[in-house]
Amino acid sequence: MSEIKKVKNLKEFSTSADRFEGANLLCPGCAHSIIVREVLNATNNDLILSASTGCLEVCSAVYPQPSGDAPWIHSGAGDGSTAPAGADAIDKALRKQGRLQQRAPEPAVVSFAGAGATYAIGTQWISAGTQFEVKFSKN
């Protein structure tokens, strides 16, 4: 992380250029959007975002007006972490080949998942990620 981000007050928040837009279909009062926006505000790096199938995904990745102002991928319920791991691998490969030099620093990879995508259907990935020393997110 290149610099410590200034913590904004509520008034500043309302006018900031967020990478998760307010235009989404989440229920009024739902905390998902606040959490996502705060997490993404923690870094100035480029972002690769993913979400497993679930509330956040079906409310913020709606064609043709998705809410992410950063590259974003959804594949399924059990692979919210595997798909961005593949994207991260391409980043590594292209860097190795010298095809991405102009794009330093490395992007932060952030995957949003709930109980289903971590404990239930996605448990395998958490286990494999630990075993193979995969970085789940970095910044």
């Binding site: 480029d46 972002l47 690769i48 993913s50 995904e57 079906v58 990745a61 709606v62 064609y63 043709p64 998705p66 992410g68 102002d69 950063a70 590259p71 974003w72 991928i73 959804h74 594949s75 399924g76 059990g78 692979d79 595997t82 798909a83 961005p84 791991a85 593949g86 994207a87 991260d88 691998a89 391409i90 980043d91 590594k92 490969a93 292209l94 190795k96 080949q97 010298g98 991405l100 794009r103 992007p107 395998q124 990935w125 286990s127 494999a128 193979f132």
Partner: protein, 407 residues
């Protein structure tokens, strides 16, 4: 680039798996995400070995399942790079959910499917059950009958899949063990020829273009889902065949090896013919030649492209033939076989409708012998002489116990 090139002999002795692995090396795959399964494992092992020996500059993602392997490929392809993997059977079945994600997101991944039976009962040998399972998934499906073709069709697959007018994933099929583990002479391309043919990967809507953020794998309900699926089908039906033909033509110019969407053998004056896929095509060709010595004008049709289904090419191939046997190497489980049905569909509205019968054979790696094919061709000739199908429409070949026939 900082990787080493490999000097190949003009003819190498490779099995189908190693031929495919060499093709992946020569295409310089950026990312392989894979999980091992018999009999396809040596393909991704081969990639990993080439990677560690500095013949490729890429990344191997070790994942926890085939579902995750295809998910990793989806993410990698969306990020913008050349991506491939391999699987078989149970692994393929586990991948199915993500196969639809890959094609719906229009990501040009190449999947080598080393065909193997599906459990239960568990079986590691070759049949086409996994190939058939993938036929509605929106992927392009190419079929190799021998190691040479497993090598060549990988180049064709990348060339077509990555074309910006296509942007669809492609499978290259080869028969488990009969092709994947049988070493034969394979004519090679040099590294420069091969890479020159597939060309540098050209990204489209890639996630690493941070100036132009894109969302992959969106949500659409009744308002847009149908339009997206219809467009994908439209592109499969109208755009893929011209690109495959162009790739075949360009490949022939480069290598001298000619491929066709439907591979016809002795079909010009054939009265009776067999249509099948995989290694059985070569066996049928040998028997067809022998049948001609016995006075039966026999021919063989092999499907090189399974999806999209070559509807008109099939009708054209069978326009003068009198009796056809459709050989399905997958249990239809309560229906006529897929080839039987699709060929019937292709011929139904034509003027000349040959007598069509279906055969189920070779499940779980059971051999299709020349003797089986001799009696099959003889049966077809009897149908021609009688002017009607003299047997039941669906018969099982090579299964123990009383003869099984249905319909």
């Amino acid at each position: 680039m900082a990787f080493d090139k490999m000097e190949l002999q003009k003819i190498e002795v490779w099995d189908g798996n190693f031929a495919a692995a060499q093709a992946l090396r020569q295409c310089q795959i950026d990312v392989v995400a894979a999980y091992p399964i018999t009999p396809s494992t040596p393909i991704v092992e081969g990639y990993a070995k080439f990677l560690s020996d500095n013949y490729i500059e890429g990344e191997f993602v070790m994942v926890e399942s085939e579902h995750a392997a295809m998910s990793g490929c989806v993410g990698a392809a969306a990020a913008g790079g050349r991506v491939a993997t391999a699987t078989s059977s149970q692994g393929f079945a586990l991948m199915v959910e993500v196969l639809y994600q890959a094609s719906g997101m229009r990501l040009p991944i190449v999947l080598n499917v080393v065909n193997r039976a599906l459990a239960a009962p568990l079986n590691v040998n070759g049949d086409h059950s996994d190939m058939y399972l993938g036929r509605d998934s929106g992927w392009i499906q190419l079929d190799a009958f021998a190691p040479q073709e497993a090598y060549d069709l990988n180049f064709i697959a990348f060339k077509v899949a990555e074309d910006h007018d296509i942007r669809l994933p492609a499978m290259v099929h080869q028969d488990g063990f009969m092709t994947s583990h049988t070493a034969q002479g394979v004519y090679t391309l040099t590294d420069d020829e091969a890479y020159g043919f597939v060309g540098e990967y050209k990204p489209m809507n890639d996630m690493l273009d941070f100036e132009h953020p894109v969302t992959h794998g969106v949500q659409t309900e009744e308002d847009w889902h149908f339009e997206h699926k219809a467009r994908q089908h439209n592109d499969l039906m109208t755009k893929v065949f011209p690109k495959i033909q162009a790739a075949f033509d360009a490949f022939e110019k480069l290598s001298g090896r000619k491929y066709n969407i439907v591979e016809k053998y002795d079909m010009n004056d054939a009265d009776v013919c067999v249509v099948c896929m995989g290694t059985s095509v070569e066996t049928a060709r040998e028997v067809a030649t022998e049948m001609r010595e016995k006075g039966i004008k026999a021919g063989v049709v092999g499907l090189r492209v399974i999806r999209p289904f070559p509807f008109f090419e099939i009708a054209e191939a069978f326009k003068d033939v009198k009796a056809i046997a459709a050989l399905d190497r997958s249990s239809p489980n309560g229906a006529p076989g897929m080839l039987f049905n699709e060929i019937a569909g292709a011929l139904f509205n034509t003027d000349k409708r040959a007598l069509l019968s279906g055969y189920v054979y070779g499940l779980g790696g059971r051999d299709l012998t020349k003797a089986h094919l001799v009696s099959l061709y003889t049966e077809l000739q009897a149908n021609v002489d009688a002017g009607k199908v003299t047997t039941q429409l669906q018969q099982f070949i090579g299964v123990r116990g009383p003869k099984l026939a249905f319909l």
